[in-house]
Amino acid sequence: MISKRMALVGDALSHVALPGLALGLLFGFYPFIGAFAFLAASALVTWRLQKSTELPVDAIVGVIFVLALAVGILITPQVDLLEALFGDVSTVTAVDAAVAVVISVLVVAVLRAIYDKLALAMISRELAVSNRVDVDRINLVYLLLVSVVVALGIKEVGTILVGAVVIVPAAAARNVATSLSRFSLLSGIFGVVSAVVGITIAGAFSLSAEYAGPIVVLTGAVLFALGLALKFSRRDRVTAQ
């Protein structure tokens, strides 16, 4: 998402899940399904509008995001609103964890399958099309994958912060990666590190469960700052030589 300059889009997209979550809570079905349904629908609408109007993605998502947020706040039961917005890691069950692992593996598998085409489309649409890449279809698959990832993280950190949990580790990796493959690997590693360290710190200080999400994001921000410092020190070393 960093490479596609969609960092803010990812953050806004996470809020679109709120009405779907609310429907899951109201009607008693698995909230992930509701969240994913709304995210996938908005991804499809975004993709379609971008193709037919040539409006930038961030403008389209901006409109959809505020609409979804307003509707979500109106229909989410008051007692569940805080948890929907900020998550509660203590409510994650073993089944939730297992589902998350299986879905994550599937997401990684699909991403690996389209990786070359996605990377080429990011570098140059003209090169991608001349290489027979269906750029529009690849972008749609990518948006749907983003929807799945965002929907997976909502229960733990809520709709407000799930975008940051996705974006900040990747931004941190961007500072230190020297190749695309290392960028991908470090993004994953930094994501795991910020989640494990963040939840551990929240537990160590016996903080309320809804604080785990913000601490995960803060941990990611520390990694970002460390990466930035490393980047500047490398640049100073090169200048000195």
């Binding site: 090169l127 099309v129 001349s130 020297t178």
Partner: protein, 241 residues
């Protein structure tokens, strides 16, 4: 094109008939028709805004168009765009080339005069000339039959242009490639193309390059009446011998 019955006709690689493109209701291209045979080089000329890049996009199916564009079935097309969108991605030259072809970079790198040490460098750290040569290496790595060059030496120092075109000429001989070339450079058009297509003339001018005078070519490229130094204006309009 080749009217001499004693010369064996080469296969037609590209056939364009009545091609038209409208952008935002405005006619950018109208009634473009030409055939191009194997191993020929077509230079596409005209001032800015005459539709040169649009023609490339129409030939590749990137924009909607009227009329007919037919490539021969075995035509593998390599595109060298004017520039890349995202050179700030942390992608190395090796990773970029592997997006098209997983192995066998050495030959294409040698063909453009780049050493293998360049493979470890990031695209964004290359000079303008090096990046253009990497783009050419990318275009030829899978041995295409057709190359499309969109101003291949824009952003390249003047002294570095000629070697690039000399390499293109030797590639054409080595690999038997058919080339379409957009250029503002009269020297390049006169010395490296077999045919010239002028998009700003009505009707369109499609002619063997040797039949177009320097003066005529300047008028076509710059869209203005040109008077060669030392001649009266009326002498400039005398047809070339």
């Amino acid at each position: 094109m080749h009217e001499d019955s004693e010369v064996l006709r080469r296969p037609v690689v590209l056939s364009v008939s009545g091609l038209g493109v409208k952008v935002g209701g405005k006619t950018v291209l109208e009634n473009v028709s030409f055939n191009l045979e194997a191993k020929e080089t077509l230079a596409i000329v005209g001032p800015n805004g005459s539709g040169k890049t649009t023609l490339f996009r129409a030939l590749m199916g990137l924009v909607p168009h009227s009329g007919r564009v037919s490539w021969s079935t075995e035509s593998k097309i390599g595109l060298v765009p004017q520039s890349l969108v995202a050179t700030d991605l942390p992608i190395t030259v090796a990773e970029f080339l592997s997006l098209k072809c997983k192995a066998g970079f050495q030959e294409s790198m040698n063909s453009v005069g780049l050493g293998m040490e360049v493979l470890r460098q990031r695209l964004g750290s290359l000079s303008g000339g090096e990046l253009q040569r990497v783009l050419i290496a990318w275009a030829i790595v899978d041995r295409p039959r057709v190359l499309l060059f969109d101003e291949p030496t824009s952003g390249v120092d003047i002294g570095a242009e000629e070697p690039i075109y000399q390499r293109l000429e030797s590639l054409k001989e080595q690999l038997g490639i058919t080339t379409l070339l957009i250029s503002h450079n009269m020297h390049v058009v006169m010395h490296y193309s077999d045919y010239v297509l002028a998009l700003n003339k009505r009707p369109l001018l499609f002619s063997e390059t040797k039949n177009v005078s320097h003066t005529k070519l300047l008028e076509i490229i710059y869209g203005a009446q040109v008077t060669p130094q030392g001649t009266a204006p009326q002498e400039a309009e005398r047809p070339s011998s």
